[in-house]
Symmetry: C2
Subunit: 233 residues, 2 copies
DNA sequence: TCGAAAAGATGACAATTATCATATAATATT
DNA sequence: AATATTATATGATAATTGTCATCTTTTCGA
């Protein structure tokens, strides 16, 4: 019985997008043999804050939110991870309990890769280590940007940014709605505000003709207006 | 003529605190031969946002603020770097222009290490790469924490946290004042608020007996009160 | 050491955002 | 399909934070 083509890491196109591409054929084979592919339904958790991760998760399909619970019970979404992104590497590398939870915001398919093969390759294949470093460096820069946005921009500006970000990164359907639909609460948690505030601002944007809505779906109508708002006009 | 002991990386104790400790004797020698030690006076810039860095800076003495200018002209301090920390590695590794400025908040001594020897060692010595990775992973986690704090805590709580952080990390002098003295403006830029707001809250903390001040110096008087405030009482 | 400039302090006020209450709409469950 | 549950929406209000003006104190350079 032959295994399906795409279930082998060597053939997985997702690999093109992440650090795994720096692995040798042999290393990939090892990873492939030990990986476990898993389907995750929308709303389901992949791992939770404080878990000890024995490996990393490579997103093959769908989108996950990486969030952190604050003392007052609110969730702050720190990052959205989609096709090709690897989750949990930070905690595997630092050998610490993870500081984030990963929950699917759409139906997903993820590959679990045990940390042994990652760690092993890290210490043998400098190219791989550098690739991982590059990715982490990129994430760090993005995190810095988020910090600045949080402290310097208004909630309105952050929500406008979020919509443009979602449009740019996940695109829109034929009807002009964002492909990635987040609940109002998730939107609030991305920009770090109260759900009611987010809802209010969404209503306002709609009245102003900047966006349209249909149920929880949101579509960008006037990118320029949003952009102007972000820049402070 | 013999070079002073401590001006050779191999003997520099600072190295114990950072990724350089994973370098071999030979690699360190090379770094040492190409490094440039430099004194930086308080207020002086080491590098500025948008600079192309040809190497990293290892802090040997003093403290630097790493900050990012926002569109509205405010500076957000993203991190304070002190003895043993390496600045600029993110941008050297990602081969991008730096996203942060580094300015001395006290008189400093830094070693500039050209990127060639760093990159070279990265691709030869996996232990070094892993060390650097660990540090970056740690920074990333801290950045996540900052994001959550920014969005979930009040300005008051963030200022209280900042004082406890400064006390814990830089200690206090015999008179009970924080060793690291930041201007009110810098404090505001650390927690992401207006200078006037920071000043007002500092006055309030003083009235409440939580801290004492003397000029721009600040001393923690009642750690428990500050801690309670942070936790929402 | 004098005077200018910068930093710190505080009041008055406006803008932003959170919270609580409640209503309506959408979704899920039996 | 009926009902329970959850998500969305909106008003009223309070709390937080920012802005502008002004004054005092400190710092620094000539």
């Amino acid at each position: 019985m032959e295994e399906a083509e795409q279930s082998r890491c060597e053939n997985c196109i997702i690999r093109q997008f992440n650090s795994l591409r720096a692995m040798s054929k042999q290393e990939l084979k090892k990873v492939s043999d030990s990986k476990i592919t898993r389907k995750v339904k929308k709303g389901e958790a992949i791992f939770e804050e404080g878990d000890k991760l024995d490996g990393v998760f490579c997103v093959r399909e769908g989108i996950s939110k990486l969030s952190k619970l604050s003392a007052n019970g609110k969730d702050q979404i720190v990052k959205l991870a989609s096709k090709g992104e690897v989750m949990g590497q930070r905690s595997v590398i630092a050998e610490e309990y993870t500081n984030l939870s990963a929950v699917a915001v759409s139906d997903m398919e993820v590959c679990f890769i045990p940390k042994d093969s990652i760690i092993h390759t890290l210490s043998r294949n400098p190219d791989f280590a550098i690739e991982v470093l590059r990715h982490m460096a990129h994430d760090l820069k993005e995190a810095d940007d988020v910090i600045v946005n949080m402290s310097q921009k208004t909630v309105k500006q952050r929500i406008a940014e979020a919509f443009l970000y979602l449009k740019k990164n996940y695109g829109e359907d034929r009807d002009g709605f964002l492909n990635l639909t987040l609940s109002r609460e998730d939107i609030a948690n991305v920009v770090g505000t109260a759900t009611e505030s987010a809802i209010r601002i969404i209503s306002e944007f709609k009245k102003r003709g900047m966006i349209k809505t249909s149920g929880k779906k949101i579509g960008v109508l006037n990118e320029k207006l949003l952009q102007d708002l972000i820049e402070g006009f």
